[in-house]
Symmetry: C2
């Protein structure tokens, strides 16, 4: 089987990474269409030695398309995902719009691939911070049920897209030149700063980003787990880090946890403190797996465990997870053709 | 009363801030001696319009000295603090060496100023991250006893001293010039990175920096509170941030907590998410108080509360706290002369 695929939002950071990943993983393509808004039409990108031109996203873009990988923002998905489904495509949507819709599976293949089978045309890709965390939680949940989570994130500029990364790089250039920093994508200057504010605030004082971790984790894990998150933007470029505490039904030892992470799907154990080996965002950009280290007992909770993880926000946090969902569907003959 | 004061480690980041603070707060000085290692002898610094020359720290440096403000590293304090005490001085020590000594009070004046009276010549200044946290905890402990703490830190380059800040600035310059980054003060490149490793690792997998938060918090608060910390270096210059969860005996409402922080000593409430008002390190360098925001209920614990704080690591995290200890002693006539 080979598929006719369209990328919605092809010019963004995630769109570009989708192109890389489809090529690297040799995804079974019959054709590939790059869709974006009118102002990007005509831009050219290389794919497997060919040159692809960006076409304008319209209601008529989906004729003959089997799979849409969508990453053009919530409002675009809201409008165009149903049209694509109507035209016969499956949409793997990277925006927040459909994630909490009870009719839409929210999937991290390492955790709940089976949910893909329940789709009615749309499958949602979770938020980046949630994806990385649940990949690690899945491995530990097998040892003992996870009841509570406390997590502080250290999120890179890439979470705000290609323009977010460019803004951070520009700010450092401006500082080196003694100029004032340009601030437009982030609420405040990010260079030499950390900003405890990602996405908008909700009524309970948490941001939407933080509430995504609460709501999406429950849905993906089919669990009563409760999660309190503080999401913070830091001046790293494209990998997110998370400092996590979990409380489990029975205590998990560090040795058990290390073994579980080592054997877990989509995970790499990187935990040799004596050799200064632990995950860091600078060195894990472009990697597929979620890297876990600093595993230790929670000194404030007998049933608690704490650890540190890093994952590439654009790959596993977005584009790779979407392609893995599509690969599962290919493998399980879930496309209509 | 006016005192003969010596600064041990006068040329470092904290030593320099001690000079600023003694001048700004018009500390009652009779004389001020700047002490450092032989290689810094002769360096000159301005103080209240006068020029002070750095003298070499020796066993004979403390004749006639009433107060030593010490910030030259643990091994220097180990050697010279007892000599200074023997010579009749009180030593306020900013290093880790004496902090957990049961004979030495460990003091944050807003929290346990009374402990100063128990000193036998040496009073220890806690670690920066602990100081900032306990200032906030003190205000909340008055509402309900704090039983557990989980904290992730976002610590600035200044924690590694003036050379730490210089290294971070140099790395960004090198990146802007397309050169490889110089790495010497930190374990890895800090620019565009975060490093989950401050001070050395201990047997339980926590770093010494993290264990300081566990041990020092108990000692300062005279409490059974238990604290699990993950301490992380981030590319900010001189203010530390902390993401904190506390569990209290009875639930504390957000309103109660805000009121307590607003009225707390050494604290500033900075918590208007609807107006994008929350503490950030870039904008709070040079401030005396600890700034607290993002106060909200812990979604994973009915008796839990979470908040975010920022404080200047060199001021309240070190130099200011030491001077405040000395000021308390002046006010309470605790010097021998």
């Amino acid at each position: 089987m080979s598929l006719n695929v369209a990328i919605m939002g092809a010019t963004g950071a995630v769109g570009q990474e989708l192109l890389n990943i489809l090529e690297q993983r040799n995804f079974p393509l019959n054709s590939l269409k790059l869709l974006a808004s009118a102002r990007s039409v005509g831009r050219e990108y290389k794919f497997k030695g060919q040159t692809l031109k960006v076409e304008e996203l319209t209601k008529d873009s989906f004729k003959g398309i089997d799979l849409v990988l969508s990453s053009a923002g919530a409002s675009v998905s809201k409008e165009f995902a149903p049209i694509a489904v109507e035209a016969g495509a499956v949409v793997v949507d990277n925006t927040s719009f459909f994630r909490m819709d009870p009719e839409v599976p929210l999937v991290v293949p390492e955790v709940n691939a089976e949910d893909i089978k329940l789709n009615k045309g749309i499958i949602a890709n979770p938020n980046c911070t949630t994806i990385m965390m649940v990949v690690a939680l899945k491995a530990l949940e097998k040892i003992s049920h996870i009841k509570r989570i406390h997590v502080s994130s250290y999120q890179a500029a890439s979470g705000a897209g290609a323009t977010g990364m460019a803004e951070l790089e520009q700010q450092y250039k401006e500082i080196a030149e003694g100029k004032p920093c340009t601030v437009s994508k982030f609420a405040y200057q990010l260079a030499n700063n950390v900003i405890p504010h990602i996405d908008v605030f909700t009524d309970n004082g948490y941001t939407k980003e933080e509430m995504k971790m609460y709501n999406e984790t429950k849905k993906i894990m089919h669990s009563d787990v409760v999660c309190s998150a503080t999401c913070v933007r830091v001046p790293a470029l494209r990998s997110h880090s998370e400092s996590i505490w979990i409380e489990t039904e029975r205590p998990i030892s560090v040795e058990e946890a290390r073994e579980a992470i080592k054997n877990g799907e989509g995970l790499q154990l990187m935990d040799e403190p004596e050799n200064k080996v632990y995950p860091m965002p600078l060195f894990l950009a472009g990697k597929d797996d979620v890297y876990v280290g600093r595993i230790r007992k929670d000194l404030a909770n007998e049933n608690g465990l704490t650890f540190w993880l890093v994952g590439d926000q654009i790959r596993k946090g977005a584009a790779l997870n979407a392609v893995q969902i599509a690969e599962y569907m290919v493998k399980n003959n879930m496309f209509k053709k």
